[in-house]
């Protein structure tokens, strides 16, 4: 029989006009991995943050071991043995790995602690100098440090908020093993994701949230189709990305973007992009895939004009823009969708419509705005809402909306679907496909191999600032494992 560990009763949380949780009631049992699924803005992350004490709920109770628990900050939640690993690593860049972990487990950053951490990491075959500052390690390493520090304090409840979704496959497999072993000992895991295959792989039970309410609970087995219906009410969107093997006009069309022997430095003066060349023709989708931290970000920024190129050149639609400011490149027909929608993609203190006007740099009629909101499925549909009140996925959609507001010749998008649910992702990939069909060029910089092989004409693997391998041809899906291998080993 399942014993109840935590009972969440009638939780409400709103941010201004946005209702994030609208009466959520659910049980978490001992020894289980409970997967929480839901579309963007369904309240998954808010639920996680309420359980970890980051947000105080407006109404409702959390009952732990039969008595009510009140968390006024993560400090209180940690005392109950609750730990959350966030969507994006919550580490302090200017502190060392050791100091970050010391902070979390509440000890001074001593030499003995350093030894303990190194021993712990060695069990996962990770050799890393814990005295390194966090800003100098890669995104994947940061994610793993987050996982490691959570496991080091031996929590009773581990809340994983989409933190493992983009780990490299081998690390992910290892992490899943750890989770399965972890819950066997009167503990529990809440695993939040929008990836259905991942959910089915790891979950014992499944809760689907929709618009802040529990839409359905699956006690035991679930199948993808049922989950999709519970999440979105439909499966229609799946047809959007089933590659229609398009008759593209690419073959002899001209280059809309050419990058030639580009060299770009990162923030710390190290070479991030190392003599990279790539061309995108009109009507073509080219993907650059790579594990985060191999120079993808710097490449995107150099093309957009936000980062100086040390040498090499960038041409947009035949014009050399290597020395031009971003505004000039935008006028030549470039649209750049940056990786981080919060810091770079939107002005979060402005409303949705104000952001869109900013992208378009001209008057936009209400109709155009509402149409973009509908096409991307932004929730809530009210254009006057401040972007900071939206969920992560919806902020990302606002960032992507610039694609629909201008008539670009080439789009450079960096991880545009990272935070999106399956349906929104399909919508965005469909928009990119339609754009290329209408004669635009797309450079998709992504760590998601699935989307790269699904919609691209070419897939380039980026390692250490260079193109390690280029795949092209009819069925890129068949190169999948080769692509993944190249990403890790170059």
């Amino acid at each position: 029989m399942n014993r109840t560990f935590i009972r969440v009763v009638d939780l409400y949380k709103r941010f201004g006009d946005v209702v994030a949780l609208d009466g959520v009631t659910l049980d978490i049992f001992f020894n289980e991995i409970l997967v929480v699924l839901g579309e963007n803005g369904s309240g998954k992350s808010t639920l996680a943050k309420v359980l970890y004490g980051v947000y105080v709920p407006d109404r409702g109770k959390i009952i732990v071991d039969g008595s009510e628990a009140r968390f006024s900050s993560p400090f209180d939640a940690k005392k109950k043995g609750f730990v959350m690993i966030s969507q994006r690593p919550q580490l302090i860049d200017d502190l060392s790995i050791l100091e970050n972990i010391a902070l979390f487990i509440g000890e001074p950053p001593s030499g003995t602690l350093a030894k303990r951490i190194e021993d712990f990491l060695k069990r996962f075959d990770i050799g890393i100098d814990v005295h390194k500052k966090v800003f100098s390690i890669s995104y994947t390493e940061k994610q793993f440090i987050e996982l490691a520090k959570a496991l080091l304090i031996n929590p009773r409840l581990l809340i994983v908020d989409e933190a493992a979704t983009y780990l490299p496959q081998d690390l992910k497999t290892k992490f899943f093993e750890i989770l399965r072993r972890f819950v066997s000992d009167n503990r529990a895991v809440i695993y939040i994701t929008h990836k259905i295959p991942e959910a089915l792989e790891i979950g014992n039970r499944f809760v689907v949230l929709r618009r802040g309410k529990v839409a359905r609970v699956f006690n035991g087995a679930a199948n993808p189709s049922e989950l999709r219906h519970a999440m979105f009410g439909t499966e229609e969107y799946l047809k959007l990305v089933s590659r229609q093997l398009l008759q593209r006009l690419s073959k002899d069309s001209k280059n809309v973007l050419s990058v030639d022997k580009l060299v770009v430095l990162d923030d710390y003066g190290k070479t991030a992009v190392d003599g990279l060349s790539i061309d995108v023709r009109a009507g073509e989708i080219v993907s650059i895939v790579g594990v985060a931290g191999n120079g993808e970000k710097e490449l995107g920024e150099a093309i957009a004009g936000l980062r100086k190129a040390s040498s090499g050149s960038v041409k947009i639609d035949g014009f050399d823009v290597t020395k031009s400011p971003p505004s000039e490149r935008t006028r030549k027909g470039l649209v750049y969708i940056p990786e981080d929608p919060f810091k770079e993609g939107t002005a979060v203190t402005l409303s949705i419509i104000e952001n869109m006007r900013m992208y378009a740099r001209e008057r936009l009629s209400q109709d155009v705005v509402l149409d973009a909101i509908k096409k991307l499925g932004i929730v809530p549909e009210n254009p006057a809402i401040q972007v900071s009140k939206l969920s992560g996925g919806n902020v990302q959609k606002v960032s992507i909306s610039r694609l629909l507001l201008t008539m670009p010749k080439v789009v450079v998008a960096h991880n545009p679907t990272r935070m999106l649910d399956e349906r929104s992702r399909a919508l965005v990939l469909d928009i990119l496909q339609r754009f290329s069909l209408s004669g635009g060029g797309v450079l998709l910089i992504t760590e998601d191999v699935d989307e790269a092989v699904q919609i691209s004409d070419k897939v380039a693997v980026m390692v250490d600032g260079r193109i390690a391998k280029l795949f092209e041809g009819g069925n890129l899906e068949s190169f999948r494992s080769e692509i993944e291998k190249a990403m890790v080993h170059g």
Binding site: Y52, S73, Q87, R88, Q90, D94, L95, L103
Partner: protein, 290 residues
């Protein structure tokens, strides 16, 4: 050889300045712009002066500590509880504190001076060195210090790691202003031993500037404070001994400070001692942002 060095290290103005700067560093490392420090220093010098004159030296120190910390808690409450903008809060409180200090001083002052405390040079020098090292140790080697610095770098991430940001900032404020108060005590009873309206005004801003010049690092701040104090107090000697023009002599402490800033920021040192990035950020936990 030992004697002149000791004299430099035991210069009471340099020691007071050291404590003010170190106090400011502790507060600002927690992410709070500490502009109220100038008003609080002016206030605590006035309170120390009249308390020592009316009651006694030991009681004077205690009264100075208690009242200085009380004022700093008003400042901290505006920042932590009411989420007020740091610069605005600091500047407006300054004006109030200058006034309160002057009022108390003028009301209770018996005469314009008091008998300075005679304290051995080795002890004074030790206070300076020990405070610098202890502050460094607390900030860089202890659990509390790691928490304080974390709040100054990224309060949101610190909160997620289980640090209670508002509590940590309160603690940093109390520690910082304890040092500030002792600095003011040394200034009043050893260096100046006199008081007039607004004595000490401007030292707070000097401390903020020199703390910034040290990139908020106690062990860099210490030599800056000592060099500044030495040049400031011995300027007449330089003038007499070497015939350096007055204008140059007066500008010298500031020029040396500038030189230190250049050295710190032009070398890899600045990469090693990162500045508190969230300094001045109004932090409100419930804001929705990933």
């Amino acid at each position: 050889m030992v004697e002149p060095i000791l004299t430099i290290l035991a210069d009471p103005l340099a020691i007071a300045l050291t404590l003010w700067i170190l106090g400011d560093i502790v507060v600002e490392r927690s992410g709070v712009i500490n502009l109220a420090i100038d008003g609080i220093i002016t206030f605590s010098i006035a309170v120390t002066f009249v308390a020592v004159q009316n009651i006694g030296y030991v009681q004077g120190l205690l009264i100075s500590l208690a009242s200085t910390i009380a004022l700093s808690l008003i400042f901290a409450t505006f920042i932590n509880v009411l989420h007020a903008p740091h610069v605005l809060t600091g500047l407006s409180l300054n004006i109030a504190f200058y006034g309160v200090g002057a009022l108390i001083g003028l009301r209770y002052m018996k005469s314009r001076s008091l008998v300075p405390i005679g304290i051995g040079k080795p002890i004074l020098a030790l206070i300076g060195v020990a405070t610098a090292v202890l502050t460094w140790f607390t900030l860089y080697r202890s659990r509390l210090g790691t928490e304080i610095r974390a709040c100054g770098f990224n309060p949101r991430a610190a909160e997620a790691a289980g640090v209670r940001v508002w509590r940590t900032r309160y603690i940093a404020t109390i520690i910082g202003y304890t040092l500030v108060s002792i600095g003011s005590y040394i200034y009043t009873t050893i260096y100046r031993s006199g008081w007039s309206q607004y004595t000490g005004m401007g030292y707070g801003f000097l401390a903020i500037t020199l703390a910034m010049a040290s990139s908020w690092h106690p062990l860099i701040a210490y030599p800056i404070a000592i060099a500044f104090g030495y040049l400031y107090t011995s300027s007449y000697a330089l003038q007499l001994l070497y015939g350096v023009p007055t204008d140059v002599v007066n500008a010298l402490p500031f020029m040396v400070s500038l030189a230190v800033v250049v050295i710190v920021y032009a070398t890899p040192l600045s990469k090693k001692v990162a500045m508190p990035k969230a300094l001045g950020e109004v932090y409100f936990r419930e804001e929705r942002a990933a």
